[in-house]
Symmetry: D2
Subunit: 167 residues, 4 copies
C-alpha cells in the first residue's frame, strides 16, 4: 500500500549549475535523479520536468501550466521543486484549484551542484516526508518547517521562510 508520489520539477536555485566559461548560473539537466540516488530513496517517486526557470521569471502562464499538471496527474501526493523567490505565489495560485491533493513546494538557497553548504538534500528529504504525512492542502517546506501556503512569506533580507498571519 505504497502511495505513488509525483515530483514536478520547475527549476529554481536548487537545480542551477555554474557555467565556468562565462561565470553565470543557469540550467542544464535536472539534478533530481542524482539526488534520489544519493538519498538511496526507496519511495515511489516519478519525475516530470515542467520548467527550468528562476522563479523571479515565472508568470501566471507558467503557474497555470503547473496547476494543470497537478490536476491531471493521477497522483494525490505531489512535490514541486521551485525557486524560493516566488514559491509562495505559486502556492497561492495552486490553492485556488487543487482540492484533495497534498502538494508540497520546496527549493534551496544553494544549488545542489555546489555541494559545499547546500541545503538542497535536506530540503528534499524534509519535503518527501511531508508529502507522505501531511493532510490535503498546499504547503511550503523550507527551513525545517512545513508552512501552509497562506501563512508564510520569504524574508529576503535573511533568506529564510517565516510564518505570517493570514493575508
Amino acid at each position: 500500500m505504497e502511495t505513488k508520489i509525483k515530483l514536478f520539477i520547475t527549476g529554481g536555485t536548487i537545480d542551477k549549475k555554474y557555467n565556468e566559461l562565462d561565470g553565470s548560473l543557469g540550467f542544464h539537466q535536472t539534478h533530481f535523479p542524482a539526488m534520489l540516488s544519493q538519498a538511496r530513496n526507496a519511495a515511489s517517486v516519478t519525475l516530470d520536468i515542467i520548467l527550468m526557470k528562476d522563479s523571479l521569471e515565472m508568470n501566471d502562464t507558467d503557474r497555470a501550466l503547473i496547476c494543470q499538471k497537478c490536476l491531471e496527474c493521477e497522483e494525490t501526493l505531489i512535490l514541486i521543486s521551485h525557486g524560493t523567490d516566488t514559491m509562495v505565489e505559486t502556492g497561492k495560485f495552486l490553492s485556488q484549484s487543487l482540492k484533495g491533493k497534498t502538494v508540497v513546494l520546496f527549493g534551496a538557497m544553494i544549488p545542489y551542484s555546489f555541494s559545499t553548504n547546500t541545503d538542497a538534500l535536506f530540503n528534499f528529504g524534509f519535503a518527501l516526508a511531508a508529502v507522505q504525512l501531511a493532510p490535503s492542502g498546499v504547503f511550503i517546506a523550507m527551513n525545517g518547517k512545513l508552512f501552509n501556503w497562506d501563512t508564510v512569506t520569504k524574508n529576503k533580507q535573511k533568506g529564510v521562510f517565516q510564518t505570517v498571519e493570514n493575508a
Copy 2:
C-alpha cells in the same frame, strides 16, 4: 504554537570521521550543529549527546539509557540519530516503554563528514519532517520512507531498509 523537538545523538555512521593518521573511522565532535546550520533550520531543535557509538557495539544498557532520556525529557517529539545496523533493535526496545511520544530514529550509510555521496542531510531532513507530522509511536526514517518499528528490517546485503510483516 511551535512544538519543541529533542534530538538525542547516539553515534552511528552519520557522525563518524576519518582518522588520516591510522585510516580508521571513529567519533570526535558531533556534526549535528553543522548539519542544522547547513539546513538553515528554523524549527526548535535541542541537541543532547547520549552516546557516540557504532550501533554494532550497543547493548541493552545503552538502550536503557536512551529510553530513560526519552521518558524524562519534556519534549514529546524526539529524533534519535543512530547507527543503521541495530536501529530496529533500539526501536523495539523503546516501543516497550514509550507511550504518547513521537520517536523517529534515523542515520546514514555514508558519514556526513565525507560530503561526497552522503545521505546524511537528506535523512535528517526527512526525519525532522516525520517527527513533526507523524502520530505517537516509534518509527524508523530511512530511504525516503517512514517505517513503524515493528515492520522494518535492514537488508544488509543491499544496505537499505525494507518493510517486513510483523515479527
Copy 3:
C-alpha cells in the same frame, strides 16, 4: 635551506563565494588559509592580500600595485592568485619590471568554495611546485602546464590556456 615563498592574493574566480541572498558571486574572506590547511602544506608560504577583484575589472593601476609589491618583497619566489580572464595581461605587465624573481600566476575556473568539480586545489598545488622548481621569469600555471607569459593565451570558448607563438 628552505626558500620562502610569497603568495600575493588578487581575487579571481578561485576566491569567489556565492551570496545566497541575491544569487551573486563575490568576494569575502580569502580561502587560501583553508586551502593551505587542506593541502597539509609544510612549505614556507606567507600570504598577502593585495586585491580581491574579478580580473575583468583590473586596470593598470592595479597591475602597478601588484608589480610594486613583487619588487619590494624580500622573497624571490612569488605566487600570484589571479582571475583567469586577464592573467596573461598581468603577466606581461610584470615581465617588464621583474628580474631575478620566479613569479607564477594561477587561478581557477570554478571557485574553491564550490567544492564540487573545482580545479582550485590542483592549480594551487601545481603552481606551488612550479614556483619552487622553475627558473627566474614570469609564468602562467594552468591546466597542468607551465607557460611562459609571452607564449600563452586563454581560449575563452573552451575555458583553457593554450600555447601561442610569441606576440
Copy 4:
C-alpha cells in the same frame, strides 16, 4: 615539444573508496580519470594501473614490478600514485635501478572520493608540475615540498613527510 608523462597507479589512500555495506575502505575503479578531468588537465598524461594496494601490503615483488614498468616505458617523466606509508621504501627501491628518468611519487592522506578536506588534487597538481620541472632522479612530492628519496621520512604521528639526513 611537449614531453609525454606516464602516470603509474599503484593504489594507496588517494584511490580508496568507502564501502557503505560493511564500512570498509577499499579499491574499486581508479579515480585518476576523474581527477584529470577535474583538473582540466591539458598536459600529455597516460595512465597505467599496475596495482591497487594499500602500501602497507606492498612487498618487493610489487616494487620490482613497478620498477620494471618504469624501465620499460618510453616516457622519461614518470608519476607514481602510491600509499604514503611505504612511499619512501618504494622510492629507495626504484633509485637503485632507474637512471635518466624523473620519477615523482605522490599520494594523499584523505581519499579523493571523500571530497571534504582531501589533499588528493593538491598533491596531484604539485606532483605533475614537479615531474615536468625537476631533474632526473627519484622524488617524493607531499605536503607542498619535493623531497629527494633519500632525505625524507613519513612522520607517522603527525601524518606529514619531513626531511631527514641521508641514511
